[in-house]
């Protein structure tokens, strides 16, 4: 929508070329928002929704059929827009003013727990699950989990609906952490997540999902689960930290249906964003954060994002791991060669000790060379066509060369081994793995947000104690 609005504005205003901009009716509200504040009255013409995935015959009907906004035939409107005068908008003098959200009181009126839970839900501040109500006392206790000043700005976020930049302080994030059910010792990880300035929810019609990975000593200090059932709903730290990211994304304004939340079906991975820790102790390879330039003794949170996630159901007893991955990854043509493979320590050990892959990168290079895909399958994937084809047309290799190949030619679409992420997680009950089209979105250090230096003993002996010692693998 932004491309059509901005392109139309430029063609009309700078090149003096008349334009008939076309959109589907589903996005009329976005088109209205993109009108801008000049005198230009971008005359959007609407077809029914959707256009994508329809037969030529169905599109013919759209063209001669009526614009659902005006009731006039779409083709007549196209011709009229190009040949009949367009009225200019009346605009107020002076600089454009952003629409601002109404102020909210810092403290809500005391009420019953049921009423306050309902209030938070009705205001769109929750993920639909009950929250821990952020009382002043609880927030104060949470703030003790960091040495950072409560007023320190942690993150800045752009609110799509009000066009505002919003800065969030440590205190703001503490409220979210309480709501998620966090212990104060989780707070440094949650602050690091906030400091990535990324949202777990994307303003896309597609079902984006994200993953949170924690590396370094803090994993064990706060009792994160990286062993058996690491992705199961059994561990407080994994559940709560991942949930806090989505709650802060919601509070940052990314969950307003048809304003900032457009995902047609949504994605319930966003409830806790697959938050887990890497099983560094049982991995035969260096930890993920070390591959990204951090020291092993640093605690780091990393983010991955994509659409597609596959659980392996077999342990490669009849095919090699590479062959199995070839089959699984073939359903998700990679964007920029990205994939994320989360393997049990048993798989990593087998790959290193029996198949000779000394490092994660060695295995990634092997995958990069050996995973093949038919060229037509790659280019006819919607997001590849939308996001990569323009690079091919601009001569960017290898896409430009691939674009010239026949559909049945085999290409090696994971051509950048460094963009394949290997993470070791699991309890060694079966040599299985998970794979996803996730790309690596970045990392943020945790230690700067700690209440005490890493490894320091807490005075009250409460910080850093793991949950229920012995319940999970250490």
């Amino acid at each position: 929508m932004a491309a059509v609005a901005a392109g139309s504005r430029k063609l009309e205003g700078t090149y003096s070329i008349p334009v008939a901009p076309v959109s589907t009716y589903q996005f009329k509200s976005v088109a209205d928002e993109n009108q801008g504040t000049t005198k230009q009255n971008i005359p959007f013409i609407y077809t029914p929704h959707p256009v994508i995935g329809l037969s030529p015959e169905a599109l013919d009907k759209y063209i001669v059929g009526n614009d659902p906004d005006t009731g006039k035939p779409v083709i007549d409107e196209i011709i009229d827009v190009l040949t009949k005068p367009i009225k200019e908008k009346k605009v107020a003098a002076g600089a454009p003013v952003a629409v601002k959200t109404a102020p909210t009181e810092l403290f809500l009126k005391p009420d019953t727990e049921d009423n306050l839970q309902r209030l938070f839900y009705e205001r769109g501040w929750t993920d639909g699950l009950p929250i821990i109500l952020p009382t002043e006392e609880r927030v104060k206790k949470m703030l003790a989990g960091t040495s950072a000043s409560p007023d320190e700005v942690v993150a800045e976020s752009f609110k799509f609906d009000t066009r505002e930049m919003v800065k969030y302080t440590v205190s703001n994030i503490a409220v979210i952490a309480v709501m998620a059910g966090a212990k104060p010792e989780y707070f440094p990880v949650i602050l690091a997540l906030a400091a990535t300035r990324q949202s777990s929810l994307m303003p896309s019609t597609t079902p984006f999902e994200a993953m949170v990975l924690v590396n370094g000593p803090i994993r064990n200090e706060i009792g994160m689960n990286c062993g058996i059932g690491a992705f199961s709903a059994v561990n407080m730290a994994n559940s709560v930290i991942g949930r806090a990211w989505t709650l802060m994304s919601i509070a940052h304004g990314f969950a307003k249906p048809r304003q900032t939340l457009w995902s047609s079906q949504g994605n319930n991975h966003t409830y806790n964003n697959m938050c887990c820790a890497e099983n560094e102790e049982r991995s035969v390879w260096e930890p993920f954060h070390v591959t990204k330039g951090f020291k092993a003794e640093e605690s780091v949170v990393s983010i991955f994002r994509g659409w597609t996630f596959v659980n392996s159901t077999g342990a490669a007893s009849n095919r090699s791991v590479t062959e199995e991955l070839n089959i699984e990854l073939s359903v998700m043509p990679p964007l920029n060669s990205s994939a994320t493979i989360i393997m049990d320590p048993l798989v990593a050990r087998n790959l290193k000790e029996n198949e000779g892959f000394k490092t994660k990168l060695d295995f990634c290079k092997h995958l990069s060379k050996n995973i093949k895909m038919k060229n037509g399958q790659f280019w006819k994937t919607d997001y590849i066509d939308m996001l990569v084809a323009s690079a091919a047309y601009n001569g960017v290799e290898p896409y430009a060369s691939w674009k010239k190949l026949p559909d049945d030619a085999l290409i090696a679409p994971y051509h950048i081994p460094e963009n394949i992420n290997i993470i070791v997680v699991g309890g060694e009950t079966s040599p299985l793995w998970k794979c996803a089209d996730y790309g690596y979105s970045g990392s943020a250090p945790v230690d700067k947000w700690r209440a005490h230096p890493a490894g320091a003993e807490c005075k009250d002996s409460e910080c850093g104690l793991p949950d229920a010692p012995g319940e999970y693998d250490k």
Partner: protein, 141 residues
Amino acid sequence: MTIQLLDNVMSPEVGAQKGPAGPPPGMGAAPPGRGMPPPGQGGPPPSRGGPPQGFGAPPPPSSAMAKRLDTLDKKTVYLVDTGFGGSYQFMLQLQKWFKENMPSVTTIRKRKPGNVFMDDNNELWEEVKVKGNAVVLGVAG
């Protein structure tokens, strides 16, 4: 029986410092951390704090609309698809309609260069200025 809370409850939205649209000074850079992938690498675009291009930025200084054509007869109309899913096929069918119903109109189908979500170059618009008279641009969705 419900519980009467004795303490005040804090709003998750309050205390955030709000400013007008557009990135404040210093915004737009990658978030902290040595592990940030360099531009152009990695998978799907991350959702960073700054507004995506095309949002929040002020419109170009010109506020004029182009003069409309007297007629499409014997004119050249560029049918430009944004690259968004379905746009290619829509413009194909639109070209077919013009050929069958207004054969005096010359249509040229093109894909907009650059990012599907933004107007990020002028290459095609320069061509239209020289060779064309009008544009149908879409389909946004």
